[in-house]
């Protein structure tokens, strides 16, 4: 077993950052009225969710 550096995986942090940004954009888009700006925010937010999971899945494959 090799503890420490081998398991260090910054990609997990990247995935979580993207995920949180997606959550914030989605909530902001949903909360404030209907308009093109809000639709863009919702789409970006959903994309952030998906991207976050993709990055985290990539981190799993490397771990």
């Amino acid at each position: 077993m090799n503890y420490g550096a081998k398991e260090a995986n910054s990609k997990e942090a990247m995935g979580l950052v993207v995920f949180v940004i997606g959550l914030v954009l989605l909530a902001a888009g949903w909360a404030y009225g209907l308009g093109i700006f809000q639709v863009v925010l919702v789409v970006l937010g959903l994309a952030g969710f998906v991207a976050g999971f993709v990055v985290l899945r990539g981190a799993k494959a490397e771990g």
Binding site: M1, Y3, G4, A5, E7, A8, E12, G15, L16, F19, V20, L23, V24, A27, A28, W30, A31, Y32, G33, L34, Q38, F53, L56, R57, A59, K60
Partner: protein, 583 residues
């Protein structure tokens, strides 16, 4: 890699389709509502608490009536003139009696100030319960994963809080219709509740005001409500970290923190506390006062317990918990001292949890806070005694870990009834909870084969459900709270005091909690498991999660039980522990 106890299949797919349809419907129904965006809040705190918040005894004034039209005897309400206009005589005296007018405003603001200070202090106490949970869960688990267990309990505070700020609070309370005891909150207008109308009956599903505490919800009253409710949500969110300890991948836990605080908890919280359909069971169908959960045996504790159950099932048991024949092994925790200290902190914090749930200390029957505090103490004490005696009788020793879980079980069970029952009933509720938690731990170990390292599912899920049911049995009809609860006049009264309908409402709430929270959480954990993995590799679990997951030991490397000794020379002034994290 060792994989254990996995299950799933067609049921999961149907749940996913159901969940997707439900979410799509809610998004379409709620998108763009947010009426609070156009309303003004009171961020300066200068308009909150006025003469209209003065509570006075108005002889001969209109009385509240119960559902049968009988006067409840309650004459405590906002002062009104004989025509029912609020304090119009004081309005008329504004020029002739300016001092009286100012005094009325000051009395109103002082009343609201008392309520706000009380609610904030109670919220601070509940926040400190996070420390109690951290110590209890870490003490009941092994030293080799102590940093990981501590870190989960620590970070759920930040993760959960931000999720609740972003969307959770809006979903839970965004349509509650105002916060009378805190002097305002009108931006949480009931127009913000997404409601289904079936056969002429409204079914509140989810709120939509208060995202990011912005717009009209940038307001002093709403901020107090947010703080108090946020720490409640965090209490629920930290419960699964105990049930899923010692094998939960940290990144998956982080995703859970956001999901729990934005979806799982707030939606059920809306149904029970935010004016949703469970709270409307009384006004819609005559089931007592609707689902009545004073401080959260169901909304907080059962939600946490059932989330933990779903997670523990998806994760599977720790390596070594069950033998090949299915019989369970005891995996002892590493520090009973920590666990008992944490329990005392939790019991202390519960004095904020239950009495603080009045959201008031002045007017409208809020002085019952003294009784609520006593009920809380008594139930915890009774449950610790019954758990200790039960274990002593059946196993020959007064098992400290089960005694600790006993007091927590009593505190959890009295959380919903604390505002509605007598001290004698509290003791009975606690005595039952103390034995119930022992049976539940045995059941999950021996029958369900679910590995719950700290007993969180038994304490919070099972005894939380018992607390919800206990309201429907023991509520004695003496509480007031303004003479109305969930829109139904009169006092919450259980089966033993004459209202069988209340028990029906409680049973519906308890079953809904299990089905909704258990189902949604199970789907969520399965999806996360599929996408990024929920469980740490077997070699990580065997060696302890501290270095592989956290990069740091909780204790010095030569501390007994701190995983495989992997000494790292301390250099450059670094401690052995911190140096290990850099290795």
């Amino acid at each position: 890699m060792l994989r254990v106890h996995r299950s799933g299949g067609w049921l999961t797919q149907w749940w996913l389709i159901f969940l997707g349809l439900m979410l799509t419907g809610v998004v379409i129904a709620g998108c763009g509502r947010s009426p609070a965006a156009d309303l003004k809040g009171d961020p300066g705190g200068i308009a909150t608490g006025t003469k209209s918040d003065v509570v006075a005894q108005v002889a001969g004034g209109p009385q509240f009536v119960d559902k049968n039209g009988k006067p409840t005897g309650d004459v405590t309400q906002a002062a009104k003139d004989k025509d029912g206009n609020p304090l119009s005589e004081i309005d008329a005296a504004k020029d002739k009696e300016p001092l009286a007018y100012s005094l009325a405003n000051m009395v109103g603001q002082n009343r609201i100030a008392v309520n706000i200070v009380w609610t904030l202090v109670a919220g601070f106490l509940v926040m400190f319960m996070q420390a109690g949970f951290a110590l209890v869960e870490t003490g009941f688990t092994r030293a080799k994963s102590a940093a990981h267990t501590m870190m989960m309990n620590f970070m759920i505070y930040g993760l959960g809080m931000l999720g609740y700020f972003i969307a959770g609070f809006a979903f839970q309370f965004g349509g509650i219709g105002g916060l009378a005891t805190l002097g305002g909150g009108s931006a949480l207008t009931s127009a913000g509740e997404v409601t289904l109308n079936i056969a002429g009956k409204p079914f509140g599903l989810i709120g939509t005001n208060g995202f990011f505490l912005s717009g009209g919800t940038y307001d002093v009253s709403i901020a107090v409500m947010f703080l108090f409710q946020m720490v409640f949500m965090d209490t629920a969110a930290t419960i699964p970290t105990g049930a899923m300890a010692e094998r939960w991948k940290f990144s998956a836990f982080c995703i859970f923190g956001f999901f729990c605080s934005t979806v799982t908890y707030p939606v059920f919280g809306n149904w029970g506390w935010g004016g949703g359909w469970l709270a409307q069971l009384g006004s819609n169908f005559g089931f007592g006062h609707g689902y009545a959960d004073f401080a959260g045996s169901g909304v907080v504790h059962a939600v946490g317990g059932w989330m933990g159950l779903a997670g523990a099932i998806v994760l599977g048991p720790r390596i070594g918990k069950f033998n090949k024949d299915g019989s369970p092994n005891t995996i002892a925790g590493h520090n009973l001292t920590l666990a008992i200290l944490g329990t005392f902190i939790l019991a202390f914090g519960w004095f904020g949890f239950n009495p603080g749930s009045t959201l008031a200390a002045s007017g409208s029957g809020a002085l019952r806070i003294g009784l609520i505090a006593v009920n809380t103490m008594l139930a915890g004490a009774a449950a610790s005694l019954s758990a200790m005696l039960y274990m002593w009788w059946t196993k020959g020793k007064p098992d400290p870990s089960m005694t600790v879980n006993g007091i927590l079980a009593g505190l959890v069970a009295i959380t919903a009834p604390s505002g509605f029952v007598s001290p004698v009933s509290s003791v009975i509720i606690g005595l039952i909870a103390g034995v119930l938690v022992c049976w539940a731990v045995w059941f999950f170990d021996n029958i369900a084969k679910v590995d719950d390292p700290v007993g969180a599912i038994s304490v919070h899920g099972v005894c939380g459900t018992w607390g919800v049911i206990a309201v429907g049995l023991f509520a004695d009809g003496t509480s007031n709270y303004g003479g109305v609860w969930n829109g139904v006049g009169g006092s919450v009264t259980g089966l033993f005091f004459g209202d069988a309908g209340q028990l029906v409402a409680q049973l519906i709430g308890a079953i809904t909690c299990f089905v909704y929270v258990g189902g949604v959480s199970y789907i969520f954990f399965r999806v996360v498991d599929k996408l990024i993995g929920m469980r740490t590799p077997a070699e990580t679990e065997l060696g302890g999660l501290d270095i592989p997951e956290m990069g740091a030991y909780a204790y010095p490397v030569d501390f007994p039980g701190t995983g495989p000794v992997n000494p790292v020379p301390a250099s450059n002034g670094a401690t052995a522990t911190s140096a290990a994290s850099l290795a």
